[in-house]
């Protein structure tokens, strides 16, 4: 589904990612883990065109997408959430989620100004689908709230709803449960499992190891911009390099 080949990203002279290569198989959940500053978010940003990569390639469904504009990558079927929530605060919850369907709205400004019947019909469909997604995340009673006044947990779920409403082929989640309590984490975990069962391909960056062990089919470990291990959760857990990356850091900070 997604193949990274020798992806490098430098900030100034500082390498944030060097020679990262791995594949994300279709229909599986890939977890990307690593200590703070390992380059996980940078990697997601490079894949989604938020940051330009320095070199290397990213193949998605056979298309070379490295350094393509964000909106084009989104149109190819990659959708994402952000580490620090990026909702549109003044838009309603419903509008936030409907923005996730931008690619399917696909009509010109002039058409939109004339508001032809077929457009109204399509808008209604988009709205229905958004309502469905919101219902799935149990947010139906807050659809007209401005997103900014939601509680943190609700905001996280709105962002998830916004990311999946367009039925993306690949969903990139940057720390979906960061800052949530145990109960909320379990709920999001269940929802992610449902998504996998529905055939979505997921890649998530996560620090919550319980969640990673529970739902990931494949774990990729990054450390200082390098990919140091790939495998199932159990394989990775026993890998001495991984232990060193995590424990070494703990010794240093202790």
């Amino acid at each position: 589904m997604l193949r990274l080949d020798h992806l490098c990203k430098n900030f100034g002279g500082l390498p944030a990612l060097s020679d990262v290569s791995f594949t994300v198989p279709k229909g599986k959940v890939t977890a990307l883990i690593g200590p703070n500053g390992a380059g996980k978010s940078t990697l997601i940003n490079c894949i989604t065109g938020v940051l330009p990569a320095t070199s290397g390639s990213v193949l998605f469904k056979g298309h070379e997408i490295v350094n393509l504009a964000s909106h084009k990558i989104s149109a190819l079927g990659i959708s994402r959430t952000f580490q620090n929530l990026r909702l549109f605060p003044r838009l309603s919850v419903l509008d936030n989620v409907m923005t996730g369907l931008t690619c399917e709205g696909g009509h010109s400004m002039i058409m939109a100004m004339l508001r032809l019947p077929y457009l109204r019909h399509r808008e209604r469909q988009l709205k229905l689908r958004s309502l469905e997604a919101l219902d799935y995340f149990d947010l139906s009673d807050k659809i007209y709230w401005p997103a900014e006044i939601l509680a943190y947990g609700d905001k996280k779920r709105v962002e998830l709803a916004r990311a999946i409403v367009g039925k993306p082929d690949l969903l990139l989640l940057d720390e979906p449960v960061a800052g949530l309590n145990g109960e909320e984490t379990a709920a999001v975990g269940d929802q992610l499992k449902l998504l996998r069962r529905a055939g979505h391909t997921l890649m998530l960056v996560e620090h919550d190891m319980d969640l990673v062990m529970e739902i990931a089919d494949q774990v990729v470990v990054l450390d200082s911009g390098r990919c140091i291990a790939t495998g199932t959760a159990d394989e990775v857990r026993r890998n001495p390099l991984v232990l060193e990356a995590y424990l070494g850091r703990m010794e240093a900070t202790a």
């Binding site: 989604t48 065109g49 938020v50 504009a69 964000s70 909106h71 989104s74 149109a75 959708s79 994402r80 952000f82 990026r86 909702l87 549109f88 605060p89 003044r90 838009l91 309603s92 509008d95 409907m98 923005t99 996730g100 369907l101 931008t102 690619c103 709205g105 696909g106 009509h107 010109s108 400004m109 939109a112 100004m113 004339l114 508001r115 457009l119 808008e123 988009l126 807050k142 007209y144 709230w145 401005p146 006044i149 916004r162 367009g166």
Partner: protein, 318 residues
Amino acid sequence: MVVMLSTLLMLFPLFEDNPYTLGVTNLIAINTIVVLGLNLFIGYAGQISLGHAAFFGLGAYGSAITTGTYGLPPWPAMLLVAMAVGCIALFVGIPVLRLSGHYLAMATLGFNFVVHSVLLEWDTLTGGPSGFSGIPYLAFGDFSFDDEVRLHYLLWSFTMICLLLCLNLVRSGVGRGLSALAEDETAAAALGVNTRLAKIKIFVLSAVMASLAGSLFAHCYSFISPDSFGIFTSTDMVIMVVIGGMGSIWGSLFGAGLITLLPEWIGVFENYKDFVHGGILVLVLMFLPQGLISGLKDMVTVRLALHKQKGKQKDAAT
């Protein structure tokens, strides 16, 4: 609401036939068209332009020169000029819209200075500082729009059509994309909004609307001078957008109306117009940064949502 307002406007000249009053309301109509376009650009797409009087002026002088000097019929001239101004906006917009914030404000301001100077200095074509007179009235056959009542119907039809088109636009996916890009450009792009193109398109659209308003302005007064298209006109228009409400189509009408009427209501304002405008702007920005209409609307939606939730919690408790 559109129907109600249209009916009111239709009836208005029946009981108000003072040409001076109608002249003022006609000016509101023209300003509203510019402010609608500018509000799409500032209020919805979250950009800033301090140069829209330039497009307004180009529209006015474009129509004046093509019809007054070269004798083209006004209607096609108006369309041609609007298209030409659209092209200029595209040409200006492609490099300038890479900027944002203060830089964008300065760049558009600079553009306004350039256009204003050209209008002022190229006197063989524009008549220079003494202005351009003898612009023909708009007409359908023998029916010429040459008095205030006729102009009232003409201008307000244009305004209502623009209002309707803008309302449609902001209710569509395109409008949603614009609001999204105003709030968070990165997130909007990640969700599939082509942010660069969207900004350019809306800039061109607002320029075309300003140009149409300019053409109407020229044909309505049959005399124009560069003074009407300086940077203070631009800032007045931004003030209209801000006071009416950023991201509120109806707010545009309100803002244009209020700021155009203020000097008429209170004579003292005539001389201290800029002070009063500045003062109002500061007050609005301090207390309702989203503008009067949008600010109040936001307050109401938030209150309603919180109120509902409290009600629910009470239900759950009992």
